[in-house]
Symmetry: D2
Subunit: 342 residues, 4 copies
């Protein structure tokens, strides 16, 4: 028996990535895919790389028969997602990939996203989708809010250290390099090949990136008081991949040992030998996270590195991992694809 899946917003990169992953998942069957502006089109005309699959044509959301759907992935744009989800059947299992339900506090949402939330009454019911740290809540819920891809990367490098009290919460610098697919299939000048290839730049500088809302929420909750990290993302000419280089104060060996302990049983998290740095190349297209630790030459300081594929572990792979839990399937089903290298 397979579970019936709907993908709302299948015409973007995260929607297509969900299809890619589900293509070889034995327990799931895609019965509806939506794309408002491309309704009526076959997926092969929107994403020719999926041409070999037998998929339903794109339709409008109001054409979906949700009573026949076991779980819906919501891969809609930020803002749109909340207004759609609030009207979905209240017993439908939902994994949202947008930013709309990540933040618990409507005021915090408004601060980072610049507008009132469309469904503030639902904020409390969404489980934050960072699987390794909310596994049991996810297993028990019908509604998961996927994390930001940058936010996920940083958290894999920082959360266990805060929980174990191994680093100074006030001295965390998260420097991050990200690929371009995180910005979606959107027509912006700075995403053009001619503008992006062969160069790099920082963006959302000075602590203005929206994923800081997630860092603040999560890190403060762990420590039990307000924690504000420094965070600078950079755009590099690569399609997939995020690398977080995190400067922390603490003992590097203890940090490494803690990662090895905490992540020992995690199927998707690989802790590198002490002193090795991971590369985005080595996780591309996969649900894996590679974590590394190095001691700085200055005593009491260390660097932690975490890398993942923003479209897989940072978004659609995470969503599928969570869906597996929600549906009572093996957590790793459909997700053990090896990275693509080179």
């Amino acid at each position: 028996m397979t579970h019936s899946i709907a993908i709302l917003g299948a015409s973007g990169y995260t929607g297509a990535e969900l299809v890619r992953l589900i293509a070889t998942h034995p327990g799931l069957s895609i019965t509806a895919m939506t794309g408002e502006r491309k309704a009526g089109q076959p997926m092969a005309s929107v994403f020719p790389f999926l041409r070999h699959l037998d998929l339903p044509d794109l339709c409008r959301i109001d054409e979906v028969n949700f009573s026949a759907v076991d779980l819906a992935f919501c891969a809609l744009p930020h803002g749109t997602s909340a207004s759609v989800i609030k009207d979905l059947p209240h017993d439908l299992k939902i994994v949202d990939l947008s930013a709309d339900f990540r933040l618990k506090d409507p005021a915090v949402y408004k601060r980072w996203y610049g507008k009132d939330h469309e469904a503030p009454e639902m904020l409390g019911s969404a489980v934050y989708g960072l699987t390794e740290f909310y596994r049991e809540e996810i297993r028990a819920t019908r509604f998961v809010a996927g994390t930001g891809c940058n936010a996920a990367t940083g958290q894999y490098a920082v959360r266990p250290l805060l929980s174990a009290g191994l680093i100074d919460p006030d001295e965390i610098v998260i420097n991050l390099i990200t690929g371009v697919s995180g910005a979606g299939r959107s027509l912006k000048e700075n995403l053009l090949h001619a503008e992006l290839s062969e160069g790099a730049n920082a963006y959302a500088i000075g602590g203005t990136h929206r994923h800081l809302g997630e860092f603040d929420q999560e890190f403060s909750a762990i420590v039990g008081r307000k924690v504000e990290v420094q965070f600078t993302p950079h755009l590099a000419p690569m399609n997939r991949g995020i690398l977080a280089t995190v400067y922390v104060r603490g003992d590097a060996q203890a940090i490494h040992a803690e990662f090895e302990r905490v992540y020992a049983e995690e199927p998707f998290i690989e802790v590198l030998p002490f002193g090795q740095a991971p590369s985005t190349h080595d996780v591309r297209g996969s649900n894996f996270v590679h974590v590394g630790v190095a001691a700085d030459r200055r005593e009491g300081r260390a660097q932690v590195f975490a890398t993942l594929d923003n479209l897989t572990k940072g978004s659609s792979g995470q969503a599928l991992q969570n869906a597996n839990l929600m549906l009572g399937l093996p957590e790793t089903e459909g997700l053990m694809l090896a990275p693509l290298f080179p």
Copy 2:
């Protein structure tokens, strides 16, 4: 029950690609992997992207217990392969990925590879590994010689047309754009990022590329007389992917109809709607081939396009497809991974 697999030459790109594919293949188990210069090292130190897998360490070929091996993939360099294979047990199933057994005639081999063949007596026993055209021979043999990646791409675009007599065999121009991984993990100046990125160039110009040996052998056999195509490969800054643009004389509509007929039941070959051109982006990391046809503005002339991933369908994916047949497994097992896009 799983079949026991050895990968000879696992420290190169095609070897690593085999591991990537076999990682999620339910019927195969890798029991030995060799790398002469890296013997004793774990695969994770040679290819960190495979870190999550439980693999045997690299060893020397003479350390492999072949009596416990059901099938060996031979991903060794050209020349080395023949000298190794000739000493392997004569009942071992072998899929060779090198160029050593593609050409049937030792004199032709010497012309294109510049030296005498190491095991000319074995040339006749190898089945040419272009699965769709040698399927039954492959199923019945214990020894398959994988095709050249460029040679495979061109043949998908040309073979059915020659067989059906739809094009003039003397007026075929195969223009080809290829990614860089086809050259392997070799330290050559022109393969450096700084030399290759952001530019393109032709190479092996004037009909000097070795894969012409395969084109000649195969196309001449189909037509029943000597056929010599024109062929110019170009290197573009991409890691995976080959695109053949083939200029032919014939009726474009008839050509397209023939492709649809011939490839209708093929699990890995997608024929695009008439007038559409395929993109290497849409097959990356997969075993699929996309074929397209367009009529030229000049009557009686057409262009045929074929694209595949050189490391997958052009090499290791093809090898696995053939191994599946040789082992009595479903032909598509482990190979239905969707392409990676973007």
Copy 3:
């Protein structure tokens, strides 16, 4: 004394390239730059790479005092250009970089561009801007129509051979790989980094690319009868550069000798030793053209290769070269910049 220059349409890539080149040109001074939607903005906010230059802010075309302008480069979009140029002062020197005045016949224009020409009465007065072949006409005119960048590349490889009767005009296949900046700074999905990087595809297949209008016009004029080449452009992940691989029927040695003869005194055209293929890498950012010739293994057939930078020699560099001639300046002034490698 410097000449006063206006750049109409300075907010696109060809406009910015003109600024880049003129920046170190001792005889020209930019006194007006237009950009309708960005009027009032400093160039540094549109193109930060030009930040170091002391440039006028962008303005609207109707704000330009053309009486103080010696020569205007018109780098406006196709279609817009004609409607602007027809209203410019009739004694103003103009170098148009658009497609609007390349074709002499309004019917041919309509066929390729799909609409009636905005200023058909001016078609006859524009000199086709392929400097090496129209040098004296350019020197004498006040109005030059720049060539298509693909069209220029193909012509450098073919024109001398048709003029000398060295090749069969009916058997010319121009296969071309082009970089993405030729499509301009336009927001199209296929120009996004995520869609374009790491892959290649043909476009405008089957003889539908607009630059065929130029090939037809020019080649037919040389031969004295209708000549229709085959032409397939491919998009590769590089920002600058075009490589034409041209399949011809003729004697390769004679072809090479003719190139050496014809281009011997040309300051920007380098003929490579026989049998060598040029690379787009080696002309990037420069006004140079590299031409190569190889004999095919089939007698009487040859390949000719030509490469140039589409934004420089294929567009803005060509325009400046022509402007130099029109203003009585040394033809190479401001254009001897070496290519940028790597």
Copy 4:
């Protein structure tokens, strides 16, 4: 009158970049270029992009007639450079691009480069080549040691702030993204296109990069006590360009004001408006440095950004700027080329 220039080590990237820059320099003439392994070859065969230039063939160093040379650029590998320079005529003007004479203390040299210095007696006589901060010393010397490219980038972001006492010297984190040409034309696996494109990684982690020697030397000298920054370089898939993102403690507005004051008259340093981040794209191929400043959301913390082209301002452009000073030429001669974009 032109000055006669020798380029020792012209077969590498920095040597070729020197040729590119000198190509349009009116006051310099290249009379000798060396390349030990490629002696006898024309430069066009080593770097075809320089084909259009009339250059001497490569020769061995012992073939150079230094009595006819006014200034030698030494672009040899680290280690080799010192052993060559110590035997050059003692009155020859020399600009060394290697690491051999950057560090003043032989013990510090040994710590970072792992061996005894070949010419320790010369360490004191070399002027550190960061032009803007050693201009008068450079003008007066005959021997300049070019800086590390990463070291230069970081210093443009940090030096004025330390001099003005605007930041805490003990809390400086220099995070850096660099292009691949900084590693030279060397055959290393991690520099292959297939290994590098489409991904990023940190290297020399934990404070082990050799350029830390320069940071320590220079920053400690400014502050008057030992200063040790944290520094993590990252490799991104781009050929040229370095971006330093520096986390500092201080007042962002004061920092920005100081940069505007200090760099006001510098011909090659552009300070961006407050709150803007520079991009490597905007300095590619040029001698310009773009500097930006942003306030962090946490009071008293700021980020400083500096970007330059490692081969130009970070190496060969800096060298030429210094040579201009040493020869009494205008400092900007041959260096006002605009960046290449896109």
